[in-house]
């Protein structure tokens, strides 16, 4: 273990020179480069942070805008729903009115059809009734019935009012006192004389009676005095009954 002072001193100087060189040309530039890079990284981080803040602000702004759009969309949807409800209600009411009108029309048609059917049945029933009554009256028609009808005729003529009497007298005058009497059965002389006496009372001058027979009358009389015609027989009654039924049906 030798010790050399000159080596000691030279080594001290050498190390101090080395330290100066390293400090001047190694540590300082490397540390400066590191510091620059660190600053650049920090600057980049600050820029990134700033951009992130801006992005977050932008995101918040867009989110708020989206929320506003959503609200506006919701409002428009609500308005549209309300309008649709209103139109639906209006159209529904209109449809219900049309449906009610159709129902009323259908009801009227059904009532009309029912009325027509009912009238048809009534007419059929009346016709069948008239036919039945005709058959019945035809079976019971006889000179006795005709005699009783003659009595009834005489009573009716007795009960004529003044107006009817005037019209009967004027009809008698207009027919030149020629009266036509149609009966279902041959009248006896007594019956003819009774009728002559009775009818002569309605005319001023003497009348001439013309007696005829028509079996279709079934029983009773048909007296023609000019344009005036007096019908009191079963056939005309049934016919009148049927015509009355037809008139009711037409009404």
């Amino acid at each position: 273990m030798e010790f050399s002072l000159s080596t000691f001193v030279l080594e001290v100087i050498n190390f101090l020179i080395l330290m100066w060189i390293l400090k001047r040309f190694f540590y300082r530039p490397v540390l400066n480069a590191l510091e620059k890079r660190r600053n650049a990284i920090n600057q980049t981080l600050e820029d990134a942070t700033r951009k992130m803040s801006e992005a977050e602000a932008l995101q918040n702004r867009y989110q708020q805008r989206l929320q506003a759009w959503d609200k506006e969309k919701q409002l428009l949807q609500n308005n549209l729903q309300e309008e649709l409800q209103t139109q639906r209600g209006t159209q529904l009411a209109q449809l219900q009115e049309e449906l009610a009108a159709e129902r009323e029309k259908s009801r009227v048609n059904q009532a009309s059809e029912l009325e027509q059917t009912l009238q048809h049945y009534q007419s059929t029933a009346h016709q069948q009734g008239a036919r039945f009554a005709g058959k019945l009256l035809q079976s019971i028609a006889s000179p006795e019935v005709e005699a009783r009808l003659l009595d009834f005729l005489l009573q009716q003529l007795q009960q004529l009012d003044e107006e009817d009497l005037k019209r009967l007298k004027s009809a008698c005058d207009a027919s030149s006192h020629q009266l036509s009497i149609v009966s279902a059965y041959p009248l006896s002389e007594t019956q003819r004389q009774t009728l002559h006496d009775k009818l002569a009372g309605f005319c001023i001058e003497p009348v001439k009676l013309k007696f005829e027979e028509d079996s279709e009358l079934l029983a009773g009389f048909r007296i023609h005095i000019g344009a005036w015609s007096l019908r009191l027989n079963l056939h005309d009654e049934l016919t009148g009954f049927a015509e009355l039924d037809n008139e009711k049906a037409s009404v």
Binding site: S4, F25, L34
Partner: protein
């Protein structure tokens, strides 16, 4: 190779000053490091290449190691402690080159480095804390410990020099003895141990220097903190 190679040879003289192989090797290391620095640190790019990345990694590693011991003074201590590490690593490893010898196998060189560490402790302590405050720490915690402090300053410096010198000289001597006894290629395992030992000894020397410097700074920091506490609480 013979036993005379173990001895420090005086190659030539510059006037009365004898230039030994240790000094020449140190100049060679100085020149090599200067060239390396000139080549690789002249144009540092913002986007570093492989070599620049490695250089920056070395600097950052040294700065972090210093900051772990003295966080507030890492920038100030980096040139001295970092230079110690770089110089010692290169100096210790240069002995692996055939024909070359580590400067650290010379006690004069390790004593010079230890003396620089000794001086740097006081230099940094006085520059950072002031002369009075720095000298006052020798009287703490009690003035009776002053002799021990003084002895410690000397012994730890001597120990620093002898430890590095002993380790490196013994490694080279061991390799030489094995080569002389066993022949060519036999010292390879001891040379591998040389690599590890070189790195470890460089780290230990630099770290001990850092600890010595930092201990002085921390002692001053503790005293300053105590004084400031007393000034804020004068009743105590």
């Amino acid at each position: 190779m013979n036993a005379s190679e173990i001895a420090i040879q005086s190659l030539f003289n510059i006037g009365p000053i004898g230039i030994t192989s240790t000094v020449v090797t140190t100049w060679a290391i100085l020149l090599g490091l200067t060239l390396f620095i000139g080549v690789y640190t002249r144009h540092l790019a913002a986007a570093p290449g492989k070599m620049q990345t490695a250089i920056e990694a070395v600097v950052i590693a040294m700065e972090d190691a210093i900051a772990a011991v003295a966080p507030e003074h890492a920038k100030r201590l980096l040139p001295f402690v970092g230079s110690l590490w770089i110089f010692l690593v290169v100096s210790n490893l240069i002995g692996l080159i055939p024909g070359a010898h580590s400067p650290t196998r010379d006690f004069s060189a390790t004593a010079a480095l230890a003396a620089l560490v000794f001086l740097s402790v006081h230099w940094y302590g006085i520059r950072i804390s002031g002369l009075k405050a720095y000298l006052h720490h020798y009287l703490t915690p009690t003035p009776f410990l002053l002799p021990f402090h003084l002895v410690s300053e000397i012994t730890r410096t001597v120990a620093l020099a002898v430890r590095l010198f002993g380790n490196m000289m013994s490694l080279e001597m061991t390799a030489l003895l094995i080569l002389m006894v066993a022949g060519f290629l036999a010292p390879i395992p001891i040379l591998a141990l040389h690599i590890i030992e070189a790195l470890v000894q460089a780290y230990i020397f630099g770290m001990l220097a850092l600890v010595y410097i930092a201990s002085g700074l921390q002692t001053q920091s503790a005293q300053s903190l105590k004084q400031s506490t007393q000034s804020t609480n004068p009743s105590e």
